[in-house]
Symmetry: C2
Subunit: 151 residues, 2 copies
């Protein structure tokens, strides 16, 4: 219940960025949320406990952490950015209607790493696997609506 904090501070120093209350807060909130929150979701949650926090800062913090590889921006079919602090390899179920993202661990993909073959002028960093479809709430529609909350 305290380890992540020291680890995170170490990571920040190693990455050459300063340890600020905002970075700590955003990282903790993200790590505690398994639903791949959006920047705005994190802001809303944090603003309650950290008045004065700016939405801009949340965006900037997420951006800087992603640049140093401390968190990931998960790719999605919806237009809003979603983030992930979980380092372990896992796959995503993404609903093409409401954009919800759920973690899964599919044995078939579990041990597939970054392909070692010659990639055309490209530096591979990691592989993302997404099962695209429709979640329970969105089953029935073809797409376009927003029946689920996506959380």
């Amino acid at each position: 219940m305290r380890g992540w904090c020291r680890d995170f501070q170490r990571s920040c120093r190693a990455a050459g960025i300063r340890v600020t209350a905002q970075r700590l807060a955003v990282y903790e909130a993200l790590a505690a949320d398994g639903a791949h929150p959006t920047a705005d979701a994190l802001y809303t949650r944090l603003a309650r406990v950290m008045p004065g926090l700016s939405r801009t800062t949340v965006y900037r913090v997420l951006d800087s952490l992603e640049r140093r590889g401390l968190i990931r921006r998960v790719s999605s079919t919806a237009g809003v950015a979603r983030f992930d602090a979980r380092p372990e390899a896992h796959q995503h179920l993404v609903c093409r209607v409401c954009g919800a993202i759920v973690d899964v661990s599919l044995p078939t993909f579990r041990r597939l790493g970054v392909p070692r073959g010659p990639l055309p002028r490209f530096v591979a960093e990691h592989v993302e696997v997404q099962v695209v479809g429709r979640c329970a709430a969105c089953h029935g529609q073809d797409a376009g609506g927003d029946p689920g909350t996506g959380t």
Copy 2:
């Protein structure tokens, strides 16, 4: 050089949507472009040959085709929507800096289909595999800039 047209018309009828000049044009332009163009890129290209075409229409056409499954919205880490008309299974190299998407065919993933295991209240439609990293133009930066054009 004419087959796609009749096939597309048939698909539209089967999907219950009308065959219009705009739909034909957008679909043809998308199918002819291997770079996973954005809605705006398609609009710009088409506006030259089809004056009066509206950007709104391009968005709406892409949306309706995606809803019926005639094309796909490819998931990406960047904020702009990119589309794909290629039905064959393939994987994507996505640059996390400039958002460029390149097709690849990785033997390891080639024959991996939608997992048949019990997915938690989810209707799986297809699987997407992305190798995230940095393209040649963006190598050197950590992220954030826009050195490449992404096309």
